[in-house]
Amino acid sequence: MHNTLKLTVSHAPFWHNGSSISSKSRNILLASLLAVIPGCLQYGPAAVGVVTLAIASAVIWELLINFISRRPISVGDGNAALIGMMFAMMLPATTPWWAVVTGTFFAVVIGKEIFGGIGANPFNPAVLAMTIVMLSWGDLFDFNAALLNYSFDFNAVYPLVLSKSFGALPAESFVLTDLLLGKQIGGIGATFGIGLIAGGVYLMLRGYIRWEISISFLAGIFASALFFNILNPELYAGPGFHLLTGYTLIGAFFLATEDSSSPVNFIPMLIYGLLGGALTVMIRNIGTHIDGVLYAILIINLVNPIVDKIRPKALGKGV
């Protein structure tokens, strides 16, 4: 008889589109390699060391937390590795090992796990960690000083420092195509513009990041930089410069788009992105900090729950 047959019984729906967190993480990691590999070629073994250490330590921190809190092992979803990678991309290749390891601790443990793990973090964990380490050990992340021992065939001055201290004129010494090709100093995975853009476009097309956020973030940068530039062309660099320097591109494609800390509705995503872009340029141009991307992202992360309330009425509700 058929009584012994054990059928699978479960609730509808019986189909799934096959997406998963791990495939998302895998694809974002893959896309980030487009920027990280050129970075590693530029900065050599030290950069490779920082990247691998960041990823490994992020995974280990998450494992440790899994054990301590007696929760199922969650590193398989690739999210911890991704956080490690994002963090490493922002670091200079010279970052000492202890700063990398504490950084990933801040990212994984403080940035994500204490809020309840994946999906519950109000801030982008990597951005939060980066901000903390920058505030704590600022000297390490002064790119000019940090990368002093490298010799480059291009102007080895952190572009944003130049524009901050000397206005728009020196900024013009950077040719935009050079910036795109990574001929500037900066974070390991944050300078190779073409790679970041290619990775970003890939992720947008495949739907792993929400294109509305990236595009509006860049639009926000462009518009506000243009505004400042028109206001005072001597003092403020043009939009092209702002788009291709500092953490702009990595911010637009990899950081602001982090799932948990960004909105999911259309108009909120646009507001979120535009605000992020505008804040970035404002901080760069009139604030005290050199780059504004990290603070801008933390601020938009903070307002995310509020803006995401703007949405169409549910079926059968309201007028």
């Binding site: 019984v9 509808a12 729906p13 019986f14 998302k24 495949r206 739907g207 999911v264 059968g316």
Partner: protein
């Protein structure tokens, strides 16, 4: 199974099945030995059961435990061999009645409907026809608070893969016309609307009803959405189900045939989808165990396989292949063990896929947090739980593979039974 497309920039689309020539003619299948009927009554409340084991039944006889409006019709004559309780989804209790079927040659037919069929009326429709294939529901016409203003015939299939209702529009539009005319006559309602997929618009024209089309993307053929998008323009903004009586095309055909011939048609058309994805329309007596259909197609079941009654998005999965074809079983789908995607208990990562696909504009990413925490009242008050039309799309796309739809159903069920308990205490 339709997978996520390579490009994910636009929101995912699921297309309804379109009936094609090859599968148009249903294969007829007989009930081998037994039929089984699940009646929406629990055994415990039936002190004076109308039926008991050993009773003979005739084909077309009403099978009910009490004198209520819930009954099924026996598709064959035979003898009741077993009456037991069947526990369905969310712990709902049914009475399961098993009938050992008489041989084909000695089938006897119940004549009570024949005696009234000359004078069609809403009353005898409710008393005799609610067990027809397609499960027509006449109760709405008896609700004096919400008078029915329009009859809507669904010539569309409400879930993926099924072509059952399209079959009737495509091959039996005359029968639909007969049924619609009859329904209009007995209800006194002249406003009949036939909903069909775009590719059947031409054919549908000869039904005499007002024809409206829905597009081919899931879940646009959902009755709730049909009301919102298609009927709202007809009749101002009708926000609730009140005022509209829905019938499936199959039910309408059956009603027409019943009154015209005096015989109750009790063969159900089912879209059968085998493990390898072959689709075939079959015609089976209501109550036939699924196993009989499997035998016909040499389909074998192994441990871990899944038997689905209804479509892949909204159906239910059966505990065994003894589960019968019921009046509302439009499709039967067999899934192999390795076609099944495991669900997980990972938390929501806020990817927003569900929000993009939800036809009811629910913030599923917020809702699921309350549901997982068991905060059902907050979910209903602040997160539009009851706006959900139960299409299952959110679960289909969920990147964390959360059984979102199951959470929603459980929450609704819990709140509704709490409310019912409160009312009975008051």
């Amino acid at each position: 199974m339709i997978k996520r497309s390579f490009f994910g920039l636009v929101k995912p689309k699921l297309q309804y099945e379109i009936i094609d020539e090859a599968q148009a003619e249903p294969v007829s299948i007989k009930a081998s030995k037994q039929i089984m009927l699940y009646i929406d009554q629990s055994l415990e409340n039936t002190g004076n059961a109308l039926l008991k084991t050993g009773d003979p039944v005739k084909a077309g006889q009403k099978i009910a435990m009490t004198d209520s409006v819930d009954y099924l019709l026996s598709s064959k004559s035979g003898q009741i061999s077993k009456i037991s309780t069947f526990v369905g989804i969310m712990g709902k209790k049914f009475t399961s009645v098993t009938i050992d079927v008489d041989s084909e040659s000695s089938q006897t037919v119940d004549e009570s409907f024949k005696n009234v069929c000359q004078t069609p009326s809403l009353e005898n429709a409710r008393d005799f026809l609610a067990g027809l294939p397609g499960q027509p529901d006449f109760n709405g016409f008896f609700d004096m608070d919400k008078p029915v203003k329009a009859i809507v015939v669904l010539g569309v299939d409400d879930d993926l893969l099924s072509t059952t209702n399209q079959y009737f529009v495509k091959n039996n539009i005359i029968a639909i016309k007969t049924g619609v005319d009859l329904l209009c006559k007995i209800t006194g309602i002249s406003n009949a609307i036939l909903i069909v997929p775009q590719h059947l618009e031409q054919v549908a024209g000869s039904s005499g009803a007002i024809v409206k089309t829905v597009d081919s993307e899931y879940p646009s053929a959902h009755p709730e959405l049909i009301m919102q998008h298609i009927l709202a323009s007809e009749d101002g903004k009708s926000k609730s189900k009140s005022g509209i009586a829905f019938f499936s095309a199959e039910a309408v055909c059956a009603i027409g045939a019943a009154y015209n011939t005096g015989k109750l048609p009790l063969e159900k058309i089912v879209t059968f989808v085998s493990k390898n994805g072959n689709k075939q329309l079959v015609s089976v007596p209501i109550g036939t165990p699924i196993q009989d259909i499997l035998n016909k197609f040499n389909e074998t079941l192994n441990d871990g396989d899944r038997v689905i009654l209804g479509g892949p998005m909204k159906g239910i999965s059966a505990f065994s292949a003894e589960y019968p074809v019921l009046p509302d079983t439009d499709a039967i789908i067999i899934q192999d063990k390795n076609q099944i995607t495991e669900r997980s208990d990972t938390a929501c990562i806020n990817c927003g896929e569900c929000v993009r696909v939800c036809p009811a504009n629910i913030q599923v990413n917020q809702l699921i947090r309350f549901l997982e925490a068991g905060q059902y009242e907050e979910a209903a008050d602040q997160n539009d739980l009851f706006s959900c039309i139960e299409c299952g799309f959110c679960s289909y796309v969920c990147e964390s593979r959360i059984p979102v739809f199951q959470h929603i159903k459980l929450a609704k069920h819990t709140l509704e039974s709490m409310k019912a308990a409160e009312e009975s205490n008051a």
